[in-house]
């Protein structure tokens, strides 16, 4: 017997959201990743986030490149749009799709190989352009799909499964995203859904370029002593700056927090992100401070997680380009083509 399809039976008390869907309705095909792969937990977190946000599955487009991480969109949101592009090319395909239909929610799923090596340029440009999307990198420090070569995010000095030491300096995609102008930057850990699910929810509702680096251990090739991307290492060195409760305008605030430990960030659409601060002096609105905080802690060998930066008033690609509100794919020929008189006038202006 190989993999079973996940039985359709679900817990008798499973909740439904107001769309009438259970969490199970946001699942996809059964995963073919290695047992214990962090990526599967991220899929589960995405499923949970979309269920809780009550997103209609057909309003979501999931796009990916190549890699174990990029395979995962098959395993969640089975009723959403999907595009599995070529290696490192998710950002450009996503940008194109977003330009053609600005009405969908875009979820780009990539890996550290896919984004920090072959797709590094695409990664950078999609963020600096402010494409309205959630860009998730499932970061395991290796090329999992091609059997565990170090990726560009592997820390210098970390050890491969076979014992080789990585001599190259790492790329920190979070630092890059901050520098490139992403308006929402966060880091999570596949092994901590309490932190991850609200991060994904907040990112999904963020109307701009939201970047999420999720440490996601590769159990097959990078979960040994000497790795800095293993379950144990990340747990031991996790330096969470905050936890957030994502709060939509509808839901009531019931939890109690000690004074001064909570910060509420009003989002563009009226929803509220409530941050439970673990480090009182951490300010998620200060891009520069975030960058230096990150680097200081990285040097100390710590993995900083949480909502690291958010711009409450972001803008995005469509605003930069001054495009019409109506998605391009819904514009008729009469609206798209100004007609020959207008063309002649335009041409005349260039003579």
């Amino acid at each position: 017997m190989t993999y079973l399809a996940k039985p359709k039976l679900h817990h008798p008390g499973l909740d439904k959201n107001t769309l009438g869907y259970t969490r199970r309705d946001y699942e996809g095909a059964i995963s073919t990743l290695c047992a214990g792969c962090g990526h599967d937990s991220i899929s589960a977190a995405i499923i949970q986030a979309c269920f809780e946000l009550e997103l209609p599955p057909h309003r979501i487009a999931k796009l990916s490149g190549i890699g174990c991480s990029s395979k995962t969109p098959t395993y969640f949101l089975g009723s959403s749009h999907g595009f599995n592009s070529v290696h490192g090319r998710m950002p450009s395909v996503l940008t194109g799709a977003n330009l053609a239909n600005r009405d969908l929610i875009y979820l780009g799923v990539s890996g550290d190989g896919d984004s920090a090596s072959i797709g590094f340029g695409q990664f950078a440009h999609s963020l600096r352009r402010g494409v309205n999307m959630v860009y998730i990198v499932e970061n395991n420090g290796v090329y999992g799909l091609t059997k565990g070569q170090f990726s560009a995010t592997a820390d210098k000095g970390s050890k491969s499964k076979k014992g080789a030491i990585n001599a190259d300096a790492p790329i920190d995609l979070v630092a890059m995203a901050l520098q490139l102008g992403a308006s929402f930057v966060a880091r999570g850990f596949s092994g901590d859904k309490t932190q991850l699910v609200p991060l994904i929810k907040a990112a999904l509702l963020h109307p701009g370029a939201a970047f999420l680096d999720v440490l996601s251990p590769c159990v097959a090739f990078n979960n040994h002593p000497g790795s800095t991307k293993s379950y144990d290492y990340v747990r031991e060195h996790n330096e969470a700056v905050n936890y957030l409760d994502f709060i939509t305008p509808r839901s009531e605030i019931t939890a109690q927090y000690p004074p001064g430990s909570v910060e509420e960030v009003m989002q563009h659409d009226g929803s509220v992100v409530r941050l439970r601060k673990l480090h009182a002096d951490y300010d998620p609105h200060d891009r520069i401070a975030a960058m230096s905080y990150l680097q200081q802690h990285q040097i100390a060998g710590e993995v900083v997680t949480g909502l690291l930066y958010v711009d409450p008033q972001p803008d995005e690609l469509h605003a930069h380009l001054n495009t019409v509100d109506m998605p391009f794919n819904q514009l008729a020929e009469s609206e798209l083509c100004p007609g020959s008189a207008a063309l002649q006038k335009f041409n005349a202006a260039l003579r």
Binding site: L4, K8, L9, H11, P12, A35, S41, G191
Partner: protein, 611 residues
Amino acid sequence: MKATDIAAPDYFHRVVDCQWACPAHTPVPEYIRLIAQGRYGDAYLINWKSNVFPGILGRTCDRPCEPACRRGRVEEGNGEKPEPVAICRLKRVAADYKDDIRARLPRPAAARNGKRVALIGAGPSSLTVARDLAPLGYEVVLFDGDARAGGMIRTQIPRFRLPEAVIDEEVGYVLDLGVDFRAGQRIDSLTQLLRENYDAVFVGTGAPRGRDLDIPGRREAAANIHIGIDWLSSVSFGHIDRIGRRVIVLGGGNTAMDCCRSSRRLGGEDVKVVVRSGFDEMKASPWEKEDAMHEGIPILNFMVPKAFTHEHGKLTGVLFEKVAAQYDDRGRRQLLPTGEPDVHLPCDDVLVAIGQENAFPWIERDLGIEFDKWGMPVVDKVTLRSTHPRVFFGGDAAFGPKNIIWAVAHGHEAAVSIDKLCHGEDLHQRPAPGVSLTSQKMGIHEWSYDNAVSGDVRYRVPMKENRIALKDIKVEVELGFDPKLAFAEAQRCLNCDVQTVFTPKLCIECDACVDICPMDCINFTDNGDEPALRQRLRAPADDPEQALYVSDALKITGHVMVKDEDVCLHCGLCAERCPTGAWDMQKFYLEMTHAGPGCRNKRREANPLPA
């Protein structure tokens, strides 16, 4: 919470809901798997060992296992009508399709052990004691007032539910073990029997007396008013083969259902069941009511019989008062008259099926056997011994009318007690069940059980058409599952005996099991006290009867693994997804320890070694 002690036999036993609920603790999922594999003989023997009458029970068991079956819980909220696995009718499949298993049964003892045991009444409880003790070398003398063994299985249960050949076969297997059956020998004095110096006496005489209904007209119309169980046994013996065209059956239990259905076959065309209580409170099992209604028998509820009406000494009908259920402040139900006019239902015959009683006129009260104020013997629930050191009770005679499977369970326990008594041991030191736990892992995603979960709804057992079934009381109504249907139904079983076993030190808390579990059973969370923990799991664990499996604290986070056993599908996906083998699927096999060397205490050396 404290970490669960999975080495305690009860822990995993409870997870196998059906086996736990079965009075004889039959290893249900094991035999269901064997049926799915077409190994009917093996499935039969597992049953035979545990419940002695697989073919009989597979047609008639009260099936306490089915309301307990997990399948009924997991289908809740998932489909139209949640239904348990057809455990009982699968048992019949094993009996119907087995090959000749006689060579695999125990043989009569080659040598006697010198102990003599008398069993009074040849119903299922005594037959079970005989089955357990005869092969051990006991001289077992079995008395019954009737000519043939079987007790109420033979005299009460109508043939259209249980063909005689099945009774002959399975009662025969027991008698063939070298039992000395004294047919037609009623015991009229226990004092006399005890004088014959038996080492132990077992009373399995049942609850033979049908309750009467003493209301006006009872005496005058007596010719056409019959006590249900007496009437059924007369039908069974062939003394009665007709009944009037219009029949009223009074009572709402299974006896009433057998009475009305038998009437339909003996000339009753207009047969009604009239019950005091509401439909849902009736004692009859839901399937018995269904079967009766299927045969065109209406069930009228909330009607209390007031008088038998008669003319010229002949019954003309029954007068009923209409009542309704009212609940007092303590939630107790009372049936109060509605004030509507009484209803008169005309009929030719009445069958009174309003209960059974015990009667022990043949037990002298000066023997040291204590009786309580209801006339029931005082019997130890565990050892089944009365207040007389050598006299045991079981079946309906012990605690009032129950059913066959309870009679069997009593029989096994009484046999253990008798065996211990005859070996000079303390009866209260009961033997532990035999248990084993075996990994089912064969490959990365390969298990030695079929872990795919069937989505099928319960299959119905094919039935003979009413047209044919109602013509002859000896025609069996149910045809039983054929092997194809049996396979499909067997696949609905969730293999609850294949346990999810968790080894905390191997867990890396990657959450893979949490994510894959279709039923949201698994949690990694901070420990807490049970009520609080039950409320903050992924899915609230609202049924305190269903255990939480709690691990020791995990090494890095200090979390504990908490699994709600309630609706686990035993699909093994958690174990398939576990990268470290912290989860494993292990088959838990539990067999009750019956009479014999295994039930006795480990002996100290009888003779000390010579100095």
